[in-house]
Symmetry: C2
Subunit: 368 residues, 2 copies
């Protein structure tokens, strides 16, 4: 017990632990039914404590070597660094491996494979959203051969359905999940036929992880955002607003009645500039607004922002009335994109849902 | 001398000191001609070393109390906290004042003024972009009276032409600067007529600071972004690309020839999600790309991004060819919005323009 959400200087992050627990239970139960294991992606929370809610000491995915090092220090031993490896980062990778951490890297070119010298996943592309080779591109086998020649090993194939973040409705999400699975299994088959054992078949994104119905041939699923969820995920139908575990606590610092604005001390430095719902059916601006106990105000949106100012307003077209929030009142802003919002802060103030009692302050891993 | 831009793990910030010096000289010379002093806003760089290039120990504006505390520790004594004061922050303000720092706050309501008890600026609105009262609103004098009744003092009026960031061309910029000046002087006249001395008349934004031609009645100008400049400022005509002092050094980690992409390890976590040029005549995506010596590639833009990936591509419609940049090559991404990009990092790697030699690593102030 370290005080209340009424105490710290704003803005700061509030984290509802019970919602993380429920979100983790839901995904674990779904993946158990499908017979695959979870390799959680810690890039969203960057917190050893949050990862421990999902599966303490379990297999993880990281987005930076700083995360790998921090989680290795905390006892994690099965770590996949899932950003294509830059050769200058290999000494840090080897240093962790020499400490007994099974840190694997990701690559999608012969250039990278020829210098890797460590166990690696080959990135396979399923929807043209980022890196990766096509499963039937002859380069796939060339990369595997170069990797083993460098002293490395083909640990597995990795596919990420980036397109799923733009899906609309359950049918599109199920199709994205099926396609991600099919491409991964096909790539593993190609590699095995060429003589590479390829023990791991890794797929995942938070949307496809929740909508997959058939993961035969897949051995593990990666997902990260599910620990917190956010308004983008709610907009594509992966969660409800009641599942969102993260919010930014801000203070009212003024009013512009002529513009219908309530001004707060939470600007984009506190929420990020992410506008991920701008292409969805309902644009949530820079976030929805709840009271300090987590109850949403009717149609109150963070409509605009500058570095340290947030402008709250009623959604255009709504008949809702601007709530009476005097200078000094605290409210919570629910994030558009939890990975980006959390990235603006150094720590979480941990509460239980509906409570203002801060039970702990958990640090985040920073930098690269 | 602490190595070269070829050494640190990417992504990281490179800062060209000579450009900061030139940018500072240009603005100081302009304001000297107009007979007003500069109160630099340290929110962009959040660096004692960068502020020292502009005017060591001089008057500053801050966007957070964390900045105020760090600059007080570094010997700065005239500090304006230019975000409307939340009452719970007053004890930190008073603690700094008791250390001998002339820390002033900003407010625009009787509610705030009645509890302030410290010297304050009254925020006056000139273009409806944020907070502030209109100069002819009777509330202006009520706020001043409440402030003095609380034991505070009307140190001055503050106007910020937020609209100037959306200006297009010199004429609009000059008009915004003139309007900002006129509103500030009018507000000071109203307060003085009501018996409040109002010694300081403070205006400013980076665009209006550079385009003001008449600042009679104004005593100080605030500007922050000018130390680094960025592609938004270049787009509205306040600087040229050659003035940009900040860039993010990233490494090529892959290619998608079918999509015309070069992939890097610098995603939005390194550049921010700011898309400030999306409404300008030339959309620069997430940034323009230069080689490690700072020479821009022809029409190469950071076109898309995920958390730790940047996708570089030739600007649509351009006849330029994608440069040959192998895996491992380092390039620099020039920021869309320097305040936001710098905010994603903890330090600057300082070089001279055109040089790769890192002469120093300067820390940034973080948090609130």
């Amino acid at each position: 017990m370290t005080g209340s959400l009424d105490d710290p200087s704003t803005p700061f992050l509030a984290l509802e632990r019970g919602r993380v627990e429920a979100n983790a239970r839901r995904l674990r139960a779904h993946l158990e039914r499908l017979g695959v294991s979870l390799r959680q992606h810690v890039k969203t929370a960057k917190s050893v404590e949050v990862a421990g809610i999902v599966e303490p000491g379990g297999a993880i995915t990281v987005s930076t070597l700083a995360e790998a090092e921090a989680f290795a220090d905390a006892g994690y031993r099965d770590i996949l660094y899932a950003v294509g490896i830059a050769p200058h980062k290999l000494p840090r990778v080897r240093a962790l491996r020499e400490r007994g951490v099974d840190l694997t890297v990701l690559l999608d070119s012969v250039e990278q494979a020829a210098v890797a010298g460590v166990p690696a996943f080959i990135e396979v592309d399923c929807d043209g959203h980022r890196g990766g080779v096509h499963p039937d591109d002859p380069a796939l086998v060339d990369i595997a051969a170069a990797l083993e020649a460098s002293g490395g090993q083909v640990r597995g194939v990795l596919v990420h359905a980036g397109e799923s973040y733009f899906a609309d409705g359950d049918e599109q999400l199920r199709a994205a999940a099926q396609h991600e699975r099919d491409v991964a299994v096909r790539a593993a088959e190609v590699l095995r036929a060429a003589g590479f054992a390829t023990p791991v078949v890794s797929v995942g994104s938070t949307p496809t992880a929740h909508f997959a119905t058939d993961l035969r041939g897949v051995t593990e699923v990666r997902a990260g955002n599910f620990v917190f969820f956010d308004l983008v995920m709610a907009g594509i139908g992966v969660c409800s607003h009641a599942d969102l575990a993260l919010s930014v606590v801000v203070t009212v610092i003024g009013h512009q009645p002529g513009k219908g604005w309530i001004l707060t001390d939470g600007g984009w430095m506190a929420t990020s500039r992410d506008r991920g719902t701008s292409r969805q059916r309902v644009d949530q601006g820079y976030g929805l607004v709840a009271d300090l106990d987590g109850v949403l105000f009717d149609d109150l949106v963070m409509a605009d922002t500058s570095q340290e100012h947030g402008m709250l307003a009623i959604r255009p077209g709504s008949a809702a009335r601007l709530p009476e929030l005097p200078v000094g009142a605290r409210v919570r802003v629910l994030p558009i994109h939890a990975c980006a919002t959390a990235g603006q802060h150094d720590a979480y103030h941990v509460v239980e849902p509906g409570s203002r009692i801060v039970e702990a302050v958990w640090p985040r891993v920073r930098g690269w």
